[in-house]
């Protein structure tokens, strides 16, 4: 694909979103290492091109449903880093007032319908949002991000069957990062390309390089346009890789993958590769890229400070929001 196709504005947007995810995640990892972050931490680092490529192609009113590895999707949808960091730290000023944490982070105002602690759990919900769009007769599209592993679970297949049978405006985006937790995909999946599963639901499917934000962006534009035109769901398989362990901040020395493999994927890093391409093509200067990085780093540093300064939720909120009170 020609690098000249997207406008410079789109390229800058892709870069900005990828950097916001990367630097946010690296900061979260440091806090986790320093025991300042309770619970589980599933870092998105390595996969930034997927969330960014898709979200730049989306409209603000389009919905997203996400996974347990969901910070990247919220950042890419425009999430507020202060509220995100505070939520990850279990603080009162977090997105969910400290009640959700990493695995349930959401921003309904941004139409980000939530990360999800249950593998595959977000797919049926995204299909429901797609149903609402069609019911209302608007051309909003619902996008569901999910991993390769979730395509082994029933909820994914039921969601795909529902979306295709009812011809709903849904875009299925599979982030194939080659591992379901600590198990290589090839050991638990008899096919090489996850996208093959789309055919069973009559959905057009495409494989893209998930380390290339421009390629992801283009594929997403096609799937979104198809959904907006009332032609039903599409499926994108983005081949990508997570640098960190399933959970936590370890990268090397795993039983289930080799260090060499990690190093090979890092050579295809989505941000480094992107920066090299746009500077070599003379589209964005190295100085400008560095300035953006400094600006995002400052935003992330401020988010860490915001989270650290935020109090834990008041115990009086323990039992609020279990139900909506009727008036």
């Amino acid at each position: 694909m020609s690098i000249l196709e997207p406008s410079v504005e789109v390229l800058k947007d892709l870069h900005h979103r990828m950097l916001r995810i990367r630097l946010f995640e690296e900061a979260a990892g440091k806090l986790f290492e320093g025991n300042k972050m309770p619970g589980f931490l599933h870092l998105y680092v390595g996969q930034e091109a997927v969330a960014s490529g898709v979200c730049v192609a989306m409209r603000e009113d389009d919905q997203v449903s996400s996974t347990h590895r969901g910070h990247g999707h919220l950042v890419a949808k425009g999430g507020n880093l202060n509220q995100m960091m505070a939520e990850l730290m279990g603080k009162a000023d977090g997105y969910c007032n400290g009640k959700g944490g990493s695995m349930h982070i959401c921003d309904l105002d941004l139409n980000m319908l939530g990360a999800n602690g249950i593998v595959g759990g977000g797919a049926p919900i995204a299909v429901g949002a797609g149903f609402a769009n069609k019911y209302r007769g608007n051309d909003t599209v619902s996008v569901v991000f999910f991993g390769d592993g979730s395509t082994n679970i029933g909820a994914f297949h039921e969601a795909a069957a529902m979306a295709s049978a009812l011809k709903l405006p849904v875009l299925f985006v599979c982030e194939n990062n080659e591992y379901g937790e600590y198990t290589p995909r090839h050991k638990v999946m008899a096919i090489t390309d996850v996208v093959d599963r789309a055919a069973g639901y009559g959905m057009p499917g495409v494989i893209v390089d998930g380390m290339d934000a421009i390629a992801v962006h283009e594929a997403a534009l096609e799937g979104l346009a198809r959904a907006r035109a009332g032609e039903g769901p599409s499926f994108i398989e983005a081949k990508t890789y997570r640098y960190y362990n399933h959970h936590g901040v370890q990268t090397l020395g795993m039983k289930y993958r080799t260090d060499e493999e990690v190093e090979e994927w890092k050579k295809k890093d989505c941000i480094e590769g992107f920066e090299k391409r746009v500077t070599e093509a003379g589209l964005i200067s190295a100085d400008e890229l560095a300035a953006v990085r400094a600006e995002v780093q400052a935003e992330v540093d401020a988010a860490v400070e915001f989270g650290e300064n935020s109090p834990y939720p008041d115990p009086s909120t323990l039992l609020t929001d279990v139900y909506t009170e009727m008036v």
Binding site: Q63, S65, G94, Y95, C96, N97, G98, K99, G100, H104, C106, L108, L113, G114, N116, G117, I118, G121, A123, P124, I125, A126, V127, G128, A129, G130, F131, A132, N133, Y135, S142, G154, A155, E158, A159, A161, M162, A165, L166, T320, D321, V322, Y323, T324, M326
Partner: protein, 343 residues
Amino acid sequence: MTATETATENAETARELTYVGAFNEGIKQLMREDEDIFVAGEDVGIQGGVFGSFSGLADEFGERRAVDTPIAEQAIVGLGIGAAVAGLRPVVDLMFMDFIMVAMDQIANQAAKLKYMFGGKAELPLTITTNGGAGLSAAAQHSQSLEAFLCHVPGLKVVMPSSPHDLKGLLVACVRDNNPTILVKNKAMLGVTGPVPEELYEIPLGVGAKVREGTDVTIVAYSRMVSESMKAAERLADEGINCEIIDPRTVQPLDTDIIVESAKKTNRVVVVHEAVRFGGLGAEIAAQVQEEAFDYLDAPVARVAAPFSPIPFSPGLEGHYVPNAKRIAAGIRETLGRPAPGA
């Protein structure tokens, strides 16, 4: 507001309708009132539901609002969740209560918790309708009463109507509620008739009803066990035992006050349900009564419920499985220390 009061208020417009007919009338009236309400599920469109609950909806509202779905319970509930978060007011149907277990992740991990996990930011005006209860030789996978599963999950409301009148009024409350609600019809009652006001009326969730005034013992029963308890009470009246019957109508939230108030008056409580005895609502109600009214009790709180086995197919076995008026009466005599007649 009690069932009796509601019925009295609307007595002028009440006609005899079946249980399923009351549901059908209620859902149609709700859909006429609010364009955001739709129904989705297996066979709910052209067929109108396997029990006729949704009969005529596709004709009146079109298949846009009476949506036939794949046999995919997780996706049916998920469809409702996503549509509700996006601002609609979905009614999704899981044909048999047994099938809730196929959809349990979406019900218990997603719908029930979404609001809390999101720090209160989500509204989830979702109604799940289903059909529970035994007595039709539907065997072990189409007859269960699983309300205790659902009541154990914070975030859900669980409703078990015992009459056509209550079914319509509680359906209206469920659909208008902004929380996920599960309305469980009893499928052995679908053809039962009773007075139902013509207009839309709402019976508030979490408010029980005293369906029989009495002095000697309180029977707590819901769904079909209310009518069986009424039969038992009539038999026992001939023996000089005066039963009070409380129908909580909603089992989550549970109207503990009305039960405790009655227990303090009669000093004896027997809980009746179709679900198996072990870990059932009876255990919860017994615990709450002893917490709130221990000093008033003249006997341990008793339970009349199904034995701890899957539900058998044969009428010859199922008849011994589901509690009936005879077993309820026996349980009450035991609690009162009265001998069986002729004993």
